[in-house]
Subunit: 498 residues, 2 copies
């Protein structure tokens, strides 16, 4: 096993959720720096898993030397680590459950099944058929030999949630139980408010539950690169917090900005809800010594992972409609049914992207290397930065390998966003600190999606929701059709054309 | 009238809520700078109040030269300007209603009367008796000769709210309808979630109502200086947005930070809710060309204004308990009943303060000089920066003028906050751009409060809630009494001692 895969070998019990502080160490402070200093050499802990060790200095044992942490492809992982996935029925929740279970974690999950309902309300559907949660859990047992504990439960039902947290005693909690659609959040006041209510109030409630019932669990919070917006100055999009060597200059004086949250400029009320959640988590870590990684995720695409591939009944959902699909997935679906790929505005908008498979690796690595008590950190979870036009071009090109003749269309932009802007994303931490190495490429993933979506059942499912692929939700709140500005057929290399 | 009082004489119809855009000018953009440039010379408007002018260039008429804008002590004010105050029954809402009505505005308001209920639930009460809203409105008519339109209504009841906005067609909307207590928001999960839900979801709903029914109204949003926290580097606390000459330096390169929101570090979930609201308003201005001033208000104290003084039945509430009172008001009440003034922690925490009277002047001046369409701006509404210890010292000193012999006590800090920190507040905009000049001083205001609170009914009301003055709500969620660390009697100049 390479060094990279053991990225967390040198982490110590200081970060381990199995450790319990003994004696009263009042290490609360308002800055992480102050806290780390205060904590030097004063800590005594006991291990909940190995009480026979007695009291000890938590920095004296590394994961590599602890018998409870086991080597895996994603670094050391706490043996039978209890991970609670909120939103387990979703696009990301389900593949993560399978991956973690396969790695030996004890996986628990809740979902209120809202995503299925909302997609259905829209007259859309997953283009890959998915099973009920009951059948999925059975299939996971049958095909992957894993046990997954699932409860249908609403994040907002705090009594049930807290009881479950108390019962499970999770060592890591993954918060995927949010309504994830930008256009949905802009469609009308009720949808905007539901998004904020579910995402912001839901996450806040969760934080109290963690404080009271699992204060040592790491919280993996899903944010989005869209929290940052795209500053026209071209300044770097740091990973959530200004780095220590970022300096503010003003009227001849200088101050370090290190550790302060960078400015945010979210691009829809959905993204606003993510920024709002960021502040709740950031402060809970400060007030209560909770610990969290806030994941600023690029646009996810694809439907592949080793575990999902084990059997069709394990598939995760794949949405392609205007509200619930994301751009790459929608483009592939459009190409499959011969519909032009619809670019909003200039198509020069740059965004960060990552495959489902890589995203699952990232999250797993974050779980495997928990933050220290009180630590709030942010990672930008992105592998490629591409323009929408580039994406359309590549999807058309790969479509040609499958005999598809694809047009691209620019339409009026329904969103309020800069269409020409720099985009300097820093995304070093996952690679440098967590050992992440991409296992999939854009082209291969798109190829895999074409294979999946050209199956007759998928084609039928795309055709059935064709009218939901073209955007209708305008950020302005206006109603009316979006004009097509331009249509063209991308040059596709002759050898690849059908 | 001095120049200062006519600060907005040179503003033009471009900022006036009575103006309606004609023709389709697509001036949406993602940066204010880009927008201002795009708008140069392209705009044609019509005046809703003076349709006889026909179409014209909105920058060609100033408030000074428009017959609809009338000179007042707070600058030019739109004649009979329709102002909607959300949260009119509150500490700030009521005095603002009286002041604006007296200045000739048509004042409308809603309140769900929640503050009265929550204070009552706490076993506390306003130390100054207040009338029902029905009686207040009658008293305003009788003693100030003004008409105020009040409806009991919940901000979350969007159907009623939107209907009222549609009916009133407000030209300015003041959003005071938020739950304003830091300790309340930290007391338990339900109170935290209620705070976020009311403040954040409530404000978001409002924004849609403004977009759809009063898009030209200016939105005065109440934030708090507590959104910023107190960065230990001592960097300036700018007014919400980085100024144009603030520069980010990183790895040898430089970028302007101008116009980006500064980092926030809110000090309780109540303050988190204010930050969250900031993002909703900021984005609504960007998405929809709404216009807003976000007021980062220092801690308000006092109970005086010219209009409130007109008759006792016009009084505004004055809370002094741990949850609903603020520090200065509480200290005066403690001094009155001979209870030691309770300082949390070191007492060296620096904060910005402003009197009720000055705050009302500030808000009025903001209403009188509306933002441009799409403009989001932030002001720091503060006159004095003081430490808690200084405040205790001064309250004790002034108490001595009233024959009171006051002790000061340091107790364990129930909050999570830095107790020693720099605090460089920039608060220039209200003075420089809006003509604000303070009309009251800390000492005079405290003196006025002693006069009011030493009345027998007030004394009885303080005594009745004595047990609610000493803090019990710990940020940590722990339960248990806070230890007294130190008690002393401040030196009071002999001539002032009783």
């Amino acid at each position: 096993m390479s060094e990279t895969n053991c990225h967390n070998a040198n982490q110590t019990c200081w970060s381990c959720p199995a450790v319990e502080f003994k004696g009263h160490v009042d290490f609360r402070a308002c800055g992480q720096a102050a806290f780390r200093k205060a904590a030097q050499g004063q800590l005594v802990v006991e291990c909940k898993r190995r009480p026979e060790i007695g009291y000890f200095d938590p920095t004296s044992i590394t994961f590599e030397h602890c018998t409870e942490w086991k080597k895996t492809d994603n670094g050391y992982l706490l043996d039978g680590m209890r991970v609670l996935i909120l939103g387990m029925d979703g696009y990301l929740g389900w593949p993560l459950a399978l991956k973690l279970a396969k790695l030996g974690c004890k996986v628990y999950g809740i979902d209120n099944m809202l995503r299925r309902k909302l997609v259905d309300d829209r007259g859309a559907q997953s283009v890959i058929p998915i099973e009920t949660m009951e059948d999925r859990v059975k299939a996971a047992n049958e095909h992957l030999d894993v046990e997954i504990d699932f409860r249908e439960m609403d994040l907002m039902d705090r009594d049930s949630l807290f009881a479950y947290i108390k019962e499970v005693q999770p060592e890591s909690i993954v918060q995927f139980a949010e309504i994830p659609s930008a256009p949905y959040s802009m469609a009308d006041v009720d949808k905007a408010c539901d998004t904020i209510q579910n995402n912001v109030v839901g996450t806040l409630g969760l934080l109290f539950g963690v404080r009271d019932h699992a204060p040592d669990a790491s919280i993996i919070k899903l944010g989005t690169m869209g929290e940052y917006g795209s500053p026209l100055t071209g300044r770097p999009l740091f990973e959530g917090l200004f780095p220590g060597d970022a300096v503010l200059q003003y009227k001849g004086e200088e101050w370090s900005l290190g550790g302060e949250l960078t400015p945010r400029d979210p691009v829809s009320f959905y993204h606003v809800s993510k920024v709002q959640g960021t502040f709740s988590v950031y402060e809970a870590c400060k007030y209560w010594w909770l610990r969290s990684y806030d994941v600023m995720q690029g646009v996810i695409y694809g439907n592949q992972s080793d575990e999902l591939a084990a059997h069709p009944s394990l598939s995760t959902r794949l949405d392609i409609d205007e509200w619930w699909g994301t751009v790459v997935n929608r483009f592939v679906a459009q190409a499959v049914i011969g519909m032009p790929l619809t670019i909003y505005g200039s198509g020069n908008q740059l965004r960060g992207y990552i495959t489902l498979k890589d995203a699952m690796q990232c999250i797993t690595r974050l779980i495997a290397a928990p933050p220290e008590p009180g630590q709030y950190d942010v990672v930008n979870q992105v592998t490629d930065v591409m323009s929408v036009k580039q994406i359309a071009q590549t999807v058309a090109k790969i479509g040609a390998e499958f005999g598809l003749d694809t047009e691209v269309q620019r339409i009026e932009n329904p969103r309020v966003e800069a269409e020409e802007h720099p985009y300097e994303v820093i995304h070093d931490k996952l690679k440098d600190n967590f050992g992440f190495a991409s296992e999939s490429t854009f082209e291969d993933e798109v190829r895999g999606m074409f294979q999946a979506l050209m199956q007759p059942e998928a084609v039928a499912r795309i055709n059935a929701q064709e009218s939901k692929l073209f955007p209708t939700t305008k950020w302005s709140g206006e109603v009316g059709e979006l004009k097509v500005l331009e249509t063209w057929k991308p040059d596709v290399p002759a050898k690849e054309a059908a």
